[in-house]
Amino acid sequence: MDDHPVRLVVEDDLHRSRLTVFLRLLLAIPHLFILLLYSVFAFVVAVVGWIVAIFTGRLPNGIHGALVGYLRYATRVDAYVGLAANPWPPISGDRSQWMTYPIDLELPEATKQRRLTVLVRFFLAIPALILSGFLGPGQRDSNAAFTGVGLASVATVLGWFAALVRGRMPRGLRDLIVFSIGFGAQTWAYVLLVTERYPDARPDSHVDALPLEPHPVRIELGGELRRSRLTVFFRLLLALPHLVWLTLWALLVTLAAIVAWLATLVTGRNPVALQRFLGAYVRYQTHVYAFLFLVGGPFPGFDGRPGAYPVELTIDRSARQHRLVTLFRLLLGIPAILLSLGFFGVLFLVGVYGWIVGLLLGRMPVGLAELGAAALRYLAQTNAYLLILTDRYPYSSPALATEQPESEPEPSEPVH
């Protein structure tokens, strides 16, 4: 799939000034006020542009430029408030200053668009707007104030604490916020007729690949995207036996997790049998949720066996775990649990959209499937952390691809 014409360019070094982080919302007030006025202006301009585009099929250059400027400015403010960037955004139309900002938005030139899609653009954008709201950094009402709590909002709050302590933004949280900002920018660019291209929900199109050192809990999205309309329509009912089995299994898992916790506290390592049992449960839960929310196509087995399902969860073998981390596992897991709730909300929306598209087209869009896989992976990593399968904290970046190691330079031929 070719790149979306609306793209975030991220050159942030993760460094954050503790002072500006602490006062971030207060420092953002002038920008929020300007953004409010700019939003009103952009709305009026957009309406005029929409009327013109219905007849001509393209935005006039002046209107296009104004909306591009608005989108760039709004993205910077979002990045600043969301802690995705450190420096205070300049209040300037000077383009050269924009280019130095760690979060930049690439936007296309004005092009011809199909007039029918222009006419119903807002209605076509509704699913993307709702998803954008779920992703965060929060719903923005007509006063440009944040009114809803999205996934990125939770990430921002967690990042605020982390940045205050460490003076750096955790990369996973930063990438999650960048993903939501990027998707939001594409959505508003679509709504405001800057582009005709529908927003891309694939996480890899917005954020960098995962770091080389892999997490012990990894997901691989395989299988086809075709979905049988019959199984899509009855998906919730078909999943019922799995939900019943999952509930019964969870009762045993609770007991097993307590035993695993005690054993790891004493020996520093989860016993192999418990690692296998609890791992099977986490894998099975991933299979069931993948099926229920249409990320995976076929009906899963009931035993969480590895290699049995196209949405494959890999859990590394039992390794040594830090006893102190194990002792306070539940407490330390609270931020991950909060973020999990947000990811679950996104997964639910993926399922709803997937159900509608699956019934209409008989397939799952690749963007929704990958977004769902990212959500499933975070849920699985959180469960693995809480169930003493690993002491590696869940990694919140939604990227699915992993960085490729830099290839060694070819040895040069000696010059004779």
């Binding site: 019959l230 009912l237 036996p241 899963p300």
Partner: protein, 389 residues
Amino acid sequence: MLAAAWLGAAALLWRSVVPDDLAPPDLDVRSQFDPSVLAEAERYDRFLRLEFVLSEVALVLVLAAYARWGTRLMRESAAGPIGTGMVLGMLGLAIAWLVQVPFDLLTLWWERRHDLAETGYLEQVFGNWFALGAEFLFICFALLVVMALARRLGRWWWVPAAPVFVGLAALFVFLGPYLIPDSHPLEDPELRAASQTFAREQGLDPIPVRVENVHELTSAPNAEATGLGPSRRVFLWDTLLDGRFSNAQVEVVLAHELGHHSRHHLPKAIGWYALLALPGTWLISVAVRRRGGMGEPEAVPLSLLVLVVLQLVALPFENVVTRHVEAEADWVALETTGDPAAAKALFRGFTSTALSEPSPPLWSYLLLETHPTVEQRIEMAEAWAARPR
């Protein structure tokens, strides 16, 4: 020997307190009912009979197609053989439900046209999603039992499977009262006193009588006896207590439903189910042998078709049994209340309020009538009144 045992058990279950020498008078139906009510009831039932035939034909045809091509849906499963069998069973149930939806809507339209139903069309389709979910779970459990036994015991799976399903049926009957939503205890003091008196006269411990709220769904009157042992209950629909029927008529209903409990009709129903389950499961086992037997998921679509066809074929026999049981309950009600006039008025009321045709055609009587006809019930009341005491 098996046949003899079967017949012996059937004879035991068939026993009834209705006298064998009862000679009901030959009733002239037309003299008992208003001609316009009779005409409307005939018209109403004629449509529903036709709808039943069409819906059953459609169901069998679709399940036959599913039996033929349904195994292609095995690609929708990444589970093992039993899990795949479960998903094929659930999809078969889903297809059957989809086929019935237009007929359900047609029935609802007809009932609404005759002011017998209040349910909305969307509610008709999606309002029973919870019940459909329960059916999905049940079919999964049933296939788990059957396929696990078949993979273990081969072609003899039906021998232990039949008792398992009989046990499940008993469990459902026991739990039945607790699954009925939206009900409250009977409040009318006269009716409550009557139900306690009737229970005592029929040799029963006091059985709770509850009123089920259905007036938002239908205006038809009805009642039922449910439960086993400590869960025994009688449920009256609130449409029976809306003033269209006198207390004397409602007392006949109470005595009738208590008669089901005093004559052990619910345990007997489980007994009859057991008598049909054994040959039924054997027949399914034979029918699916060419698909590798019930241990293989390929057999599941065919087994669903065989099950539905067997249920259709058994329908006349089942209706003979239920009519026999309902007649006994009517007789017990007459013996308990001693009020044949109220009983006759009640049965006549079924025609005017529920448009129940007093004397349907024979084929409809055999296939659809789970109760004696209104005509037969009135005749029994007159025969009871004519007997010397």
